[in-house]
Symmetry: C2
Subunit: 450 residues, 2 copies
């Protein structure tokens, strides 16, 4: 058993930090470890640290905590850096969405991801300088493009983690299968993963899905009760249509991302994702934001209610997050299989560059993280889904990497809503001239006249 | 000196066939060869054969000719098969364009290329069966997708040829350079090639281009005189804008293909391609069709005017076509460098699959065709232009290869004009139900309800 030093960037996210501390309490091999909470918001830091201290004390985990608004200080001596920060928080993300909507892009086009990825690279460069042997666990999005950018630009050990792959459990649940007998292979890119192998008691389970589609899907889609929440995207009409289009079931966040044609307006979203229009409609997303806000309020209350133990709210059971078990596996050589995002070295996913970060199963142990090589993906999936998604990522990553406003422009021109060069340039000009985007504006230089 | 048997599929194209016979007369190493003209139009065949006989007699080339409407017969014993056929001729191409325009796709979206490529594959399969050692020289479009499809589906020796790369000479001419001292490297995919190296007397000639852009381009673009024809796309405002966007000058047909944003309507085309709107506007294309028609009339007249030698119209000088010199090089071991389209075996163009047909320089000799390996293309060009183009080709090729209507649908959904799933399906349904598309309809089966 070794103790480690873990730095959390963006630790003000109370639910994330508390969940991580809870998992550290559960994984006894990491008891006694040191956790540094870093955030630019000192008040949130205070709350998170208070909660963490109480939880560790109650569960006798002997964890030590530190809090700082100084990233450099947080990184000093770190063995693991977890980046969960969202630059500018939800407010800036929503402002960027609204800006894009004014230029004709309903629900935005994800421009905030560019600022996120540029920030990831700053953190990775700090790690190279301050704690070059640390593992960087990228938890905030965009995991796919952000991790690829860091892998291409630094020598840092980058690991992207997500829980979207658990979506196969929703498939199994809706089909009425006993999870204990379900197995799944779900390779791809983060938020773009596909159920290439799906078994129930060792037998191909796809026929069970086909049967459900034929006999039960319409009734399921017609339901508008409380079981159909904003987060319930896995078995939507869109996901099944994607399964039929590509020949593989899209898993987790994938059905949200695939296909602009499901997202042209609210009515279309509702047809494909149910009455709330899915996670990414104005209805579903607002519910998500509201729930996030309520959850923060609730955690804040728990942290300062001295009468009740916080472990009532955060009971000592392993969460769905893979982060702490993976740290345990690496540090204490507790080998296990995880769903990871790592460079495609050795052609884990045949046909893509070795410096592209892919999502796959990885064997994690004291020896490190070894990707489980996948057979070539079906040709239909490659041509229809994987190469098109890679193409977008490549533009995104190389735009940031080369500081190429031209590539940024091509990225916007590649959005199916863009109707003219003028429209794309107008959006980019406004976006880059926003004071909150100062660092990106510097990166991309002056706009080119056109 | 060896004689060969050459079969021309689509030989009714008089200009093409007459040019080829003229080149055979010029290349004395191929005198005495046997040429079979195959076409479905017997009248055109008669005219072509008459012209060819007269030309060979006048130039004493001892060529032997045969004509047939039976493809199997044409392929029997062939050493070289040249496929220059356009399925359904210009009429069917224009009908498909009009159909697409009715569905909201101004100037169409190239659906005729799918029928072409499917036909190429039929020819390649015939070659596998009838003359498996023959070289297939693919001259009709789409060379990129069509050759890739044939390479993936057959064992035939496929060579795609085009003259677009000579566009670098137009660049040189406009810059006032002496062609004898100009060299150029122009790799890529057919109709998607880039001037990665451009020299004048050994020195980088790009600064000369930059100077022209700064001082002379606007005056050049303002001209509307007879020097600005529909075919004059090489030095347009669009081509220069593409050079600025991607960092490399697009060559030949490339500036016509890159960027939907130059093609949204006639006024936009005129802004970017000059007063005719370029080759692909309703004005430019009609001029091209008119010229083609006039040329056919002219050749027909020449063929039947017994008073004048046809070699006055087709003088014995090597044309711009590479076909006959390459046949000579292969047959008589006359080694030389050519611009070829061949499979990317050995990673001639690093980063693309080995079974993708790329355009590159090739050393042609009795030993065969050896691609000249290229250094990695600039990252900006890869991310901005090459990978996006490959993505489209992959969908196209795999749709035909797998007989996947779903991929065909994704191909149409990937067109920036497509605004809904319904629009894409409506176009495909009409297109596949056209009696002229019977073979493709069989290939893609029944439309899927959506």
């Amino acid at each position: 058993m070794s103790t480690v030093k873990i730095a959390i960037i963006g630790a003000g996210s109370a639910e994330f930090s508390a969940g991580l501390v809870r998992d550290l309490c559960v994984n006894v091999g990491l008891h006694g470890s040191h956790v540094t909470f870093m955030d630019i918001d000192p008040q949130r830091l205070d709350m998170v640290a208070l909660l963490a201290e109480r939880l560790s004390d109650e569960l006798d985990a002997g964890l030590r905590f530190e809090k700082t608004v100084d990233r450099t200080q947080a990184l000093r001596g770190a063995d693991f850096v977890i980046n969960t920060a969202q630059v500018g928080g939800h407010a800036w993300t929503e402002a960027q969405r609204a800006m894009a909507e004014r230029h004709g892009y309903y629900r935005g086009l994800g421009l905030h991801n560019l600022g996120q990825a540029a920030f990831f690279l700053e953190v990775a460069r700090d790690i190279e300088r301050i704690c070059p042997n640390a593992w960087l666990i990228q938890s905030a999005n965009p995991v796919f493009e952000g991790c690829t950018l860091m892998v291409r630009e630094t020598g840092v050990k980058v690991l992207g983690l997500c829980h979207g792959h658990y979506g196969y459990r929703s498939v199994a649940r809706v089909l009425g299968l006993d999870l204990a007998h379900v197995s799944a292979q779900i390779p791809g890119f983060n938020h773009w993963i596909w159920l290439t192998d799906f078994r129930y008691s060792g037998q191909d389970a796809y026929p069970l899905l086909d049967e459900w589609i034929a006999s039960e899907a319409e009734a399921y889609w017609a339901r508008t009760d409380q079981t159909r929440t904003y987060g319930d995207n896995q078995m939507t009409r869109a996901a099944i249509h994607q399964y039929q289009l590509f020949g593989c079931m899209p898993i987790g966040d994938t059905p949200r991302q695939v296909g602009w044609w499901y997202h042209t307006d609210l009515a279309t979203k509702q047809r494909w994702y149910g009455h709330l229009g899915g996670f990414d409609s104005e209805i579903g997303w607002q519910q998500y934001l509201d729930r996030q806000y309520e959850r923060v309020q609730q955690i804040e209350q728990v942290a300062t209610e001295w009468d009740a133990p916080v472990s009532e709210t955060f009971p000592p059971v392993q969460s769905g997050e893979q982060i702490v078990p993976i740290i345990d596996a690496l540090v204490n050589d507790v080998s296990g299989l995880y769903q990871v995002n790592i460079p495609n070295r050795g052609q884990i996913l045949p046909g893509f560059p070795e410096d592209l970060v892919v999502e796959c199963q990885g064997m994690v142990s004291g020896a490190g993280i070894r990707g489980i090589a996948q057979p070539p993906l079906p040709r239909k999936l490659m041509a229809g889904a994987m190469i098109p998604r890679w193409e977008r990522a490549e533009l995104f990553v190389e735009a940031l990497r080369g500081r190429e406003r031209d590539l940024l422009l091509l990225y916007v021109l590649g959005d199916p809503r863009t109707a003219s060069l003028k429209q794309a340039n107008a959006l980019l000009d406004e976006w880059l001239s926003d004071p909150r985007n100062e660092r990106l504006a510097l990166l991309f230089g002056e706009p080119r006249p056109s």
